[in-house]
C-alpha cells in the first residue's frame, strides 16, 4: 500500500493553448498522497485551466497527467500505458490512469478525482441531502440494477439507499449543516454552500480532492472553519487535496506544498516557507519586475 508522501498525481509538460493564447506553458509538478498541495498565483495565471485539464473539462494541448490508485509500484507501467494509447492500466499494486485521455465524468467515476468550482455549482433547487445523494449516483445506479430493479423496489436497493443516506448524514454533520439538511441548497448562506460543495465532492469517494478557490468570498471566521475542515479531511481520511488559492494567508497555514504559477509558467515549487521568501513570487504578486522588488518592498514597508 501507499504511504503518505508517495506521489499520487504526476503532471508532466502540461500545455494548454486557446487559439494563440498560451494559458498554461509546459507545467510539471507532483501532488503527494495525504498532502495538501496548493496551486497559487495572481489572477489569470492559468490555475483554473490546470484544474480543468486535470478534471477532464479541457483536453490539454500537450502533456501527461498520471494518477495512481494503490501502491507506488504502479508508476512502473507509466510508459507502457502511454504507448498503449489506453486510458488506464491495471497493475499488481493497483491501477494507473492517464487523466488527459479521459472525458470529465470518467475522471470522477473511474479515476476518482473530485472537484469543486470557483463559482459554486450546487443544485440549488435540491435539498442539501439530495445534493449529497446525487454525488453517490454511480454507486446507487449499480445498486438499482441500472434502474430496472429499482423500479420494482428490490430490497437490496433499499439497503444501498439507506447506506447512502447514512453517508450523506455523516458529511452533513461534519460540515455543520444538520439543522438545514432538508433545506434547498440555494437557500444556504455562502459559506455553508462552499462547505456543502466540498462535502458533495467527498461523497463521490475520491482519491484526490481538487478545490478551486474554496476560500473565495468567505469572511475570516468562515475561512478559519474551512481550514479546519480541510485539515480534518486530510488527517482523518488521509485524503490528498489539490487546492487553488488566491489568498496567500490561507495557503501558508494549511498546505504542505506550494506551486506558484504566473502567466501559465511555474515560477516556484516548494514548502510554504520557501515559496514565501522567493523573490520571483513576490515580484509576481506585486506585479513588478524582479529587480524592482526591493524597491517596492521598501515603499510599502515590508
Amino acid at each position: 500500500m501507499a504511504n503518505a508522501g508517495d506521489i499520487l498525481l504526476r503532471v508532466e509538460h502540461l500545455t494548454m493553448r486557446f487559439g494563440g493564447l498560451v494559458a498554461v506553458d509546459d507545467l510539471s509538478f507532483e501532488a503527494r498522497q495525504g498532502n495538501i498541495t496548493a496551486l497559487i498565483g495572481p489572477n489569470g495565471a492559468g490555475k483554473t485551466t490546470v484544474f480543468n485539464c486535470i478534471t477532464g473539462f479541457y483536453k490539454p494541448t500537450e502533456g501527461r497527467l498520471g494518477l495512481r490508485h494503490g501502491g507506488p509500484g504502479v508508476w512502473e507501467v507509466l510508459e507502457t500505458l502511454t504507448d498503449s494509447g489506453r486510458r488506464s492500466m491495471r497493475h499488481a499494486d493497483g491501477a494507473l490512469y492517464l487523466l488527459e485521455r479521459m472525458p470529465d465524468f470518467l475522471v470522477t467515476q473511474q479515476a476518482r478525482v473530485a472537484r469543486t468550482f470557483q463559482n459554486i455549482r450546487l443544485f440549488p433547487g435540491m435539498t442539501v441531502l439530495e445534493n449529497l445523494m446525487v454525488a453517490q449516483h454511480n454507486r446507487l445506479m449499480l445498486a438499482s440494477g441500472y434502474t430496472l430493479l429499482g423500479v420494482f423496489g428490490v430490497p437490496s436497493y433499499a439497503a444501498a439507499e439507506r447506506a447512502a443516506i447514512e453517508q450523506a448524514r455523516v458529511w452533513i454533520e461534519r460540515v455543520g449543516l444538520t439543522a438545514r439538511a432538508d433545506d434547498p441548497a440555494g437557500d444556504l448562506p455562502y459559506g455553508a454552500q462552499r462547505r456543502l460543495e466540498i462535502a458533495r465532492a467527498m461523497c463521490t469517494d475520491p482519491v484526490l480532492l481538487c478545490l478551486d478557490e474554496p476560500a473565495a468570498g468567505l469572511n475570516p471566521r468562515e475561512s478559519a472553519e474551512l481550514n479546519e475542515l480541510l485539515l480534518t479531511i486530510r488527517n482523518d481520511y488521509g485524503m490528498s487535496i489539490l487546492l487553488i488559492e488566491h489568498d496567500m494567508s490561507v495557503v501558508m497555514e494549511i498546505s504542505d506544498h506550494v506551486i506558484v504559477l504566473d502567466y501559465g509558467v511555474k515560477i516556484a515549487d516548494g514548502k510554504p516557507d520557501e515559496v514565501r521568501n522567493d523573490d520571483k513570487v513576490i515580484a509576481a504578486y506585486l506585479g513588478v519586475a524582479d529587480d524592482e522588488v526591493a524597491e517596492v518592498e521598501a515603499e510599502v514597508g515590508l
Binding site: 465524468f105 473530485a114 443544485f123 433547487g125 439530495e130 446507487l140 429499482g150
Partner: protein
C-alpha cells in the same frame, strides 16, 4: 368614517380623466389593429373572384368592448388590486388549504375512477359516449402525454418540441403491425413503447450537445421530418389518406361487438357501444396511472435524481461522475416510451390515423400543458391538461352562444383561437406555471416544499 382629504378626491378625479383617456387610446389602437382583418373580409364571389366585404358593426363592437374593458380595469379592478397589494399577506396556513392539499389527489383519483358511471348515471347510455370519449378519454390522453413529456422537460430540463413524433411512431407501429401481422393490442402496446423509445434514443443522440432554444428547434425539425416522411412514404403509410380499419382492442380476447361471442353477450348484458368506450376509458386511465407511478418511482431512484440534477447544473453533474449523455438519453427514451404507449392507444381507439393527428400543433399543445402546469409537477400537468383540453372540448357544446351570435355561429371554430390566447394569458399571469414548487425526493427529518425561485430552469 373620517371625511376624505381634499387631495384624495382631487386625485380621484384626475384618475378618472386619465382612465378615460387611456380607454380612448386603447380603443383607437384596437381600431387600427383590427381594421384590416376584422373591418374587411375577403370572400370569393359567384364568379370566383376575390372581393371585399366590410364588417363595420363587428369592428366597432370589438373596439367598444376593448375600450370598455380598459376603462373598467382602470376604474374598478386597478384600485382594488393596489389595495390588496398594500394589505399584509396572511402567512398562517389556513386549515382549509391543508385539508385540500391532503385530500385533493385521492379525491381526483377517485373521481377519475367512478367518472364513467357518473356519466352513465347522469345522461344514460345514449349520451354517455360523447362525455366519456370526447371528454374523458381525450383529456386523459393529454394527461398521459403531459406526464410523459414532463420527464423530459420538467425533470431533465430538456425542451422537446417534437414529442408528437414519438406519439406518431407508437400509433403507426400499432396500426401497421396489427394490420399486417394481426398481433393483438396487448403484445403491440409494449412493442410500440419499445419502438418509440428506440426512436427517442436515435433522435436524442445527435441533439444532446445542444442547449437552450437550439435543442427545442432541432427536436421540432425532427418531429416535422417524421411527419413529412409519414405523408410522403405512401407505400407504407398511405400518405395523407392515412390508415383505416385498424383493429380495435379486445377485452382480453373478447371483442366489443353485437355478436354472440361479444362482450355484452358473454356477460349477459344488452349490447351498447358504451361498453367499449368505458373499457377504453379505463385502459387510458390505467396507462396514465402507470406513467405517473413510474415517474414517481424514477424520481426517487438515482436516475431520476440525476435528471433533476441535470436540469439544475449540467457541469456540476459531470464533476460528480455522472454520464450526462446517458442520463439525457434515458430521459428521452423514457418520455418517448410513454408517448409510444399513448400513440398505440390512440390508434386503437380511433381505428383510423393520418399524419394530420401529429402536427407541430400537437407538440406545442403538450409542451404548453407541461409548462402551464408547472414543470415537474404532476398535479399541475393534470390540471393544465384538464383546463386546456377539457376547456376547449367543452367549447364544442356551447350551443347557447348561437342564441346570442346567430345560428351561423360555430363555437368550435374558436377553440384553437382561445387555446392560443389562453397560453399567452397563463404565461403572463404565472410564468412558472400553476404549481411551480418542488417536492424533495428524500429527507432526513421533514419534507419541505422548495420554492420555485430556486428550482432550475434547465438549459435544453
Amino acid at each position: 368614517m373620517a371625511p376624505e382629504p381634499l387631495n384624495a378626491v382631487k386625485s380621484r378625479g384626475a384618475d378618472l380623466t386619465r382612465a378615460l383617456r387611456d380607454a380612448v387610446l386603447t380603443g383607437l389602437l384596437a381600431f387600427v389593429l383590427f381594421l384590416p382583418l376584422i373591418g374587411f373580409q375577403t370572400v370569393t364571389n359567384m364568379r370566383g373572384d376575390l372581393v371585399l366585404n366590410t364588417r363595420w358593426g363587428l369592428l366597432f363592437s370589438i373596439v367598444a368592448v376593448i375600450a370598455g374593458a380598459r376603462l373598467a380595469y382602470a376604474v374598478l379592478l386597478a384600485p382594488w388590486l393596489s389595495q390588496r397589494k398594500l394589505r399584509p399577506v396572511a402567512v398562517a396556513p389556513s386549515p382549509w388549504r391543508d385539508f385540500a392539499g391532503k385530500w385533493i389527489i385521492p379525491f381526483a383519483i377517485g373521481f377519475a375512477i367512478v367518472y364513467p358511471f357518473v356519466v352513465v348515471g347522469t345522461v344514460g347510455f345514449g349520451g354517455a359516449v360523447k362525455w366519456i370519449d370526447n371528454f374523458g378519454i381525450q383529456v386523459l390522453i393529454y394527461v398521459m402525454l403531459g406526464w410523459g413529456l414532463n420527464i423530459v422537460v420538467g425533470l431533465a430540463g430538456l425542451l422537446d418540441l417534437g414529442y408528437v413524433a414519438f406519439y406518431a411512431v407508437g400509433a403507426y407501429s400499432y396500426a401497421l403491425l396489427a394490420k399486417e401481422f394481426g398481433l393483438s393490442f396487448w403484445i403491440l402496446l409494449p412493442l410500440a413503447g419499445i419502438l418509440s423509445s428506440f426512436w427517442g434514443i436515435l433522435l436524442g443522440f445527435p441533439v444532446l450537445r445542444l442547449r437552450g432554444d437550439y435543442l427545442a428547434i432541432v427536436t421540432l425539425a425532427f418531429g416535422e421530418i417524421i411527419r413529412l416522411v409519414l405523408i410522403n412514404w405512401v407505400d407504407l403509410t398511405n400518405g395523407y389518406a392515412g390508415l383505416s380499419g385498424i383493429p380495435r382492442p379486445t377485452f382480453f380476447g373478447i371483442p366489443f361487438n353485437a355478436n354472440d361471442d361479444g362482450f355484452a353477450a358473454r356477460f349477459g348484458l344488452e349490447f351498447t357501444p358504451v361498453y367499449r368506450t368505458i373499457f377504453l376509458y379505463y385502459l387510458i386511465l390505467a396507462l396514465a396511472f402507470l406513467t405517473a407511478f413510474v415517474t414517481v418511482r424514477l424520481r426517487r431512484l438515482p436516475v431520476g435524481r440525476a435528471w433533476e440534477a441535470l436540469r439544475e447544473d449540467e457541469i456540476a453533474c459531470r464533476s460528480l461522475g455522472i454520464n450526462t449523455t446517458n442520463t439525457k438519453l434515458t430521459a428521452f427514451a423514457t418520455g418517448a416510451m410513454f408517448a409510444g404507449f399513448a400513440g398505440s392507444f390512440f390508434a386503437a381507439r380511433q381505428g383510423f390515423i393520418s399524419p394530420d393527428s401529429f402536427t407541430f400543433l400537437e407538440s406545442a399543445s403538450i409542451v404548453a400543458i407541461v409548462v402551464l402546469g408547472g414543470m415537474g409537477s404532476q398535479v399541475g400537468v393534470a390540471v393544465a391538461a384538464l383546463a386546456m383540453v377539457g376547456g376547449t372540448e367543452l367549447m364544442r357544446d356551447l350551443d347557447f352562444l348561437k342564441a346570442i351570435f346567430g345560428p351561423t355561429f360555430d363555437p368550435t371554430q374558436y377553440r384553437m383561437l382561445l387555446f392560443g390566447f389562453a397560453m399567452v394569458l397563463i404565461m403572463v399571469w404565472r410564468p412558472r406555471g400553476l404549481i411551480s414548487t418542488r417536492e424533495p425526493t428524500v429527507y432526513l427529518k421533514e419534507r419541505k416544499t422548495i420554492s420555485a425561485d430556486l428550482v432550475g430552469q434547465g438549459h435544453g
